[in-house]
């Protein structure tokens, strides 16, 4: 075979005495400090929340099938829209992409035995279950109803108890995010195996550097804003109460200073996943490694200076509307660099139509549309027309569902063998992909037109002229809801009965594939040595077309 691969190790080294027994199922429900256990805990908990948030979406779309509010009460509708957004962002995409894949993969990718601060890591995870309980518990008090943005004064006068629980839940996950970020940065900077040069660091790790910096800089600002809101609601302060000298717009600045970067928190790790999945399944070196790594850092930096584009119709002075138009448009440049680099990576490959690859390419396709509509939204004069309409809903579902969620699926299909030691069924993966791809486009494409023609977002009742398109969106949402079934079935079946996976089923070159599937506790018996880049597919072909035995150097026992 002329395919780059890592030789499978065959028990050369006797098992050292300190090697730990594999974890039992109940270990996954405890305060465990193994980064892989924590990664799985994040992924599974996040996925449960994904299903809950998805059910809320189905309820909302059912309501919107007709113009009248006849399925659920408008107050419950608002509680659903608030918690759907909150759950999908803070309890699904962020914990799955950062906490889940980040914890599982970063130490394995840099050749470390665990994260830098394992106990802190476990604490960071265990902040999530109480946060989720607070959020779901808030439904006993009516549920927070003022949108995931929770702008005062509405948030200060609606369902006070539920709103307070919502704030506490977000402060908890925010704290979790800060602890996690510190851990990732220290792990990547100080625990990388010495033989790995910086330009051999996998791109997922580069994206985690950018993500962590962003989370560290911006999350405290959200926590501050939410704490002030909590005080306004419960302790009689008046930071955001205009009748007592407060200012309602300040909250929006505090909120978006975090929450725009939060958009990048949700997509940067996914960009990292893309850069891992595409080269492996296209059998090609990643195109433009440095450009992709630097563009993550550029997005991280620029992403801190665009938040006011969410406030173009608010109490925002003209200079700000223009400054943030320009800064927002500039973000398109590094994002474009990534898209073009991935497309170029496909060129000249030997593309495998695996579940992971289909979702990665599906993401590429969806993200192009979401990115282009994002550019139009960046231009203030047009944004004024479509701000807070279904056009925005369409845009962010293309980048967050078509982008982040497709990326999470790609990541799950790609690393499932490593995480569980078993292969997933590729046929069901294809069925899942086709249903998801079609469902996404039926649900979200018509929303562009709805918004531009005059349908505002966050409404339980709407002008009957929009009913036909809304029915189409609702049909698409049902297809999407249904599309989860083949995935769920595949995961459950494969995890228990799937064929056993080898250490490196995809013949990939990054370090996580040099250990067993699933990896042993503490990851390797002897740490691996890196002698070539993480994406050197086809690079070692000599004059006679044979692979030179360079890859052997990557094997654990070569040092």
């Amino acid at each position: 075979m002329a395919q780059a691969q890592v030789p499978v190790e065959t028990g050369v080294i006797a098992t050292p005495a300190h090697v730990h027994e594999p974890w039992k199922w109940y270990d996954y429900f405890t305060f465990n400090i193994d980064h892989k256990v924590i990664g799985i805990q994040y992924l599974v908990l996040a996925f449960v929340f994904y299903l809950i948030g998805g059910l809320m979406a189905v309820a909302m779309r059912t309501e919107l099938a007709t113009a009248d509010p006849d399925f659920i009460s408008p107050a419950l509708y608002n509680a659903f829209l608030t918690n759907h957004g909150t759950i999908m962002i803070f309890f699904w995409v962020v914990p799955a992409a950062i906490g889940g894949f980040g914890n599982f993969l970063v130490p394995l990718m840099v050749g470390a035995r665990d994260m830098a601060f394992p106990k802190l890591n476990a604490i960071a995870f265990w902040l999530n279950p109480p946060a989720g309980a607070l959020l779901l518990g808030s439904f006993f008090f009516g549920g927070a109803q003022s949108g995931w943005t929770s702008y005062p004064p509405l948030s200060a006068i609606t369902a006070n108890t539920a709103q307070s629980m919502w704030i506490l839940a977000l402060v908890l996950v925010g704290s979790s995010s800060i602890l996690g970020s510190v851990n990732f940065l220290i792990t990547i900077f100080f625990m990388k195996v010495p033989s790995m040069r910086w330009d051999q660091l996998p791109l997922y790790c580069w994206s985690m550097v950018a993500t962590s910096v962003l989370a560290l800089v911006s999350t405290p600002v959200l926590a501050a804003g939410l704490t002030l809101l909590l005080f306004d609601i419960n302790f009689g302060t008046s930071f955001f109460k205009p009748e007592e000298g407060g200012n309602v717009v300040i909250y929006q600045h505090l909120f978006w200073f975090y929450s725009h970067p939060a958009v990048y928190l949700m997509i940067l790790p996914i960009f990292g996943v893309m850069s891992e999945v595409i080269p492996v399944h296209a059998r090609k070196p990643i195109f433009g490694y440095k450009a992709i790594a630097y563009s993550s850092l550029a997005i991280c930096l620029l992403g801190l200076f665009v938040w006011v584009h969410h406030m173009f119709t608010s109490g925002t002075p003209p200079w700000m509307r223009l400054f943030f138009t320009i800064s927002t448009l500039i973000v398109a440049v590094p994002t474009g660099v990534k898209i073009f680099s991935w497309v170029a990576t496909l060129w000249g490959g030997k593309i495998r139509y695996t579940g992971a690859m289909l979702f990665a390419v599906g993401l590429l396709s969806m993200f192009v549309l979401g990115g282009l509509s994002g550019v139009t939204l960046g231009a203030a004069p047009f944004d004024v027309h479509v701000h807070d309409t279904y056009y925005v809903v369409a845009h962010f579902h293309y980048v967050l569902f078509g982008g982040s969620v497709f990326g999470l699926y790609a990541g799950i299909y790609h690393w499932f063998p490593k995480i569980t030691g078993r292969m997933m069924n590729e046929t069901w993966a294809r069925v899942h992909f086709v249903l998801t791809f079609i469902g996404t486009n039926i649900t979200f494409l018509p929303m562009h037109q709805l918004g531009m023609h005059g349908m505002p977002r966050r409404v339980a009742m709407y002008d009957p002229q929009f009913e036909a398109l809304n029915k189409l969106c609702t049909f698409g949402a049902f297809v999407l809801a249904f599309s989860i079934l083949p995935f769920l079935f595949n995961v459950i079946w494969s995890w228990s009965k799937g064929p056993k996976a080898s250490g490196n089923p995809w013949n990939a070159l990054t370090l996580e594939w040099t250990t067993d599937s699933p990896p042993i506790v503490e990851n390797w018996e002897v740490l691996p040595v890196v002698t070539h880049g993480p994406y050197d597919y086809g690079m070692n072909v000599g004059l006679n077309g044979q692979v030179e035995p360079v890859e052997e150097a990557i094997a654990p026992h070569s040092s």
Partner: protein, 350 residues
């Protein structure tokens, strides 16, 4: 068949994509009717972005599909792909092209924004005096109690108070209005879940906006309880109405007709029902409407008006849409009476 040379093929593809993009950019049918001076400006900006987006979309999606088919793994082929890991000129090109495009769109956006009046919110050139920003005396309601949560002089806006209103944010005089005073000023108040329109020069208060076509109209926006957002899709204009702050929209309607007024900022359970209408009249029709309502409202006591407001759907501030829910929302004639100016004030204003 003879092989077509690659440069020719590229040229043909380029021409086809350009034509397709231009066609789609101007025939997408995604935008509603244009009914204000700003609308064509916004639409042209969108169309230009649509042309560029369509071209990029076709090129990138085309490449994805082409590569996926052309470079798929063939049966039995277990080799790796072509070991190319970069190309500096190509990377420079696809960094430079988007950079130039977004700078172009940015400059164009600034120009459109300026022409729309975005750079001069609140320019009321007829006012000779300065006002203390944002702090306006509160008008007492008839029973001397202030209305829960309000921070602004509600409905009872007199000429003097209207002159004191100086929007800090929003759209002001556009290029075609510079240096002139607006022809019509209307004070707009958002409340859960209705828009109230007050004509300070004539003391009229309605739940629907009536304006003359072709005239320079200034809307002074504020909110009584929570944030609302005033949007007329056919005008392509939207501005939040904020409690405690003054915002505004200035525009010229270009087409006689009836258009929806939509609240675009989540304002509570019945946010979706917070819809009203703007009726663009000819000048004659507008004058007639003005006269009719001025007489009607001056002769009626506030209580009767309030009762009418809640009974007569055309006068109901919550609009037709919410009528079935009015009782549920707790809107009573008494609550509306609070919002109405005392008759004496109407007299002095008219």
């Amino acid at each position: 068949m003879k092989q077509i040379p690659a440069p020719l093929l590229t040229l043909i593809a380029g021409v086809v994509i350009t034509l397709a993009s231009l066609w789609l950019g101007y025939n997408h049918g995604l935008l509603p009717e244009q009914a204000s001076e700003q609308a064509p400006l916004v639409d042209e900006l969108f169309n230009v972005m649509m042309v560029i987006s369509t071209a990029l979309f076709i090129v990138v999606q085309g490449m994805i599909i082409w590569f996926m088919i052309r470079y798929r793994q063939r049966a039995g082929d277990d080799t790796d792909g072509i070991p190319v890991d970069g190309n500096l000129p190509l990377e420079a090109l696809w960094t430079a092209i988007p950079a130039v495009l977004v700078i172009g769109i940015g400059v164009y956006s600034v120009e459109v924004f300026q022409e729309m009046g975005g750079l001069s919110p609140g320019s009321h050139p007829m006012m000779g005096h300065q006002h203390a920003a944002a702090v306006v005396a509160q008008a007492p309601s008839p029973d001397g109690q202030s209305i829960g949560g309000d921070t602004m002089p509600l409905m009872a806006m007199t000429e003097a108070e209207a002159a004191d209103f100086d929007p800090q944010y929003g759209f002001g005089a556009g290029t075609s209005m510079m240096g002139n005073a607006p022809d019509v000023t209307v004070a707009v108040t958002g409340m859960q879940y209705a828009w109230l329109f007050n004509y300070p020069n004539s003391g009229i208060m309605t739940g629907e906006l009536h304006i003359p076509v072709g005239k320079d109209v200034q809307l002074d926006l504020t909110a009584q309880d929570v944030i609302h957002s005033f949007w007329v899709p056919q005008f392509r204009l939207k501005q939040d109405a904020l409690p405690g702050q003054q915002t505004g929209l200035r525009f010229r309607a270009t087409k006689v007709g009836t258009y929806p007024v939509v609240c675009a900022e989540l304002c509570g359970s019945y946010h979706g029902g917070m819809r009203s209408q703007v009726i663009v009249h000819t000048q004659d029709e507008y004058d007639a409407w003005l006269e009719e309502n001025q007489v009607a409202q001056a002769e009626t006591s506030p209580d009767v008006v309030a009762a009418n407001l809640s009974k007569n759907s055309s006068m109901l501030p919550t609009g037709d849409f919410l009528q079935p829910y009015v009782a549920e929302m707790g809107i009573t004639p008494e609550a509306i009476a609070h919002l109405h100016p005392p008759a004496s004030e109407v007299d002095s204003a008219s």
